[in-house]
Symmetry: C2
Subunit: 168 residues, 2 copies
């Protein structure tokens, strides 16, 4: 199968140096700031980004060494298919977080509401748009009634090594 190759466009500096006790998803990291360093060769692509209040970061969850197709996620005691969760141990560990854009200084972005570990390689930035990214009337499957917990729960050792199979 043909491999798809990407290159980091920058690196995300965050105050999270270990996987334990990290927020899970943006709401859990509310108010926590990160600095994104965009590499010089991509900095021109930031033109006019400062007008947007929120941006979507796509990044490589680089500590994931092995994926699991069935996982027990943070918000449930049942096991679910990886694609029905936001767990990191995905076949292609692409992280996606919508963050608040505070400021752009040259090729550095100051953002807030983050949930990624320090030194995470950034793959893409997209402006967050209504109509496209906001959907009303969502049906939430196994997550029904549990989504509020994203802002309270912290990660634990469950994905610590990112390499243990969770398919017991």
């Amino acid at each position: 199968m043909k491999t798809v190759n990407f290159i980091p466009i920058g690196i995300i500096h965050t105050p999270f140096y270990s996987i334990k006790d990290m927020p899970i998803q943006g709401p859990g990291g509310k108010g926590i700031k990160a600095t994104i360093e965009i590499y010089p060769e991509f900095a021109a692509g930031l033109k006019d980004l400062e007008g947007f209040s929120h941006i979507i970061l796509l990044y490589h969850m680089h500590l994931v060494e092995k994926h699991s197709l069935i996982v027990k996620p943070f918000l449930d005691d049942e096991k679910h298919g990886i694609f029905a969760t936001r767990s990191p141990v995905r076949p292609n560990p692409i992280g996606m977080t919508t963050v608040r854009l505070i400021e752009i200084r040259d090729s550095r972005l100051i953002v807030e509401d983050i949930d990624m570990i320090d030194q995470t390689p950034l793959l893409d930035i997209k402006p967050c748009l209504p109509m496209i990214d906001d959907i009303q009337g969502l049906r939430l499957g196994w997550l029904t009634g549990k989504v509020d917990q994203f802002s309270q729960k912290k990660s634990d050792d469950r994905f610590k090594s990112f390499s243990d199979s969770l398919e017991e």
Copy 2:
């Protein structure tokens, strides 16, 4: 710089065989159906996905041969930095569309509201969640007042070859 390597987890079959006249973004493709074929080795990861009404597809915009840091997007006559747009000619051409999940038949997903070309390699599926993917009070920079046009505009030849530099 270290390359990030991903592998397709499936392929997206759509009725769009050429880049011209494709919808731009999901609202433009409202009601249009696609079939996603998940490769057998990843099909177990679909468990419990059927409970979700909307899913986020991350895919490789495989026809993009060359990126541009400054582009003139479909919704404006001004040029903007690529990261302040949803244009396909990004340094890492990762497409992201939220689609309505209609049905799962074995390892095939029937989805609706699509904007990708036939034979697009799929990289990830994430359930679409409120609080995480819906942000209120967005500031929209150059797109202020233009976002409604996503549902009306079609693509044109602008990114046809996906390889012409738009950095005039």
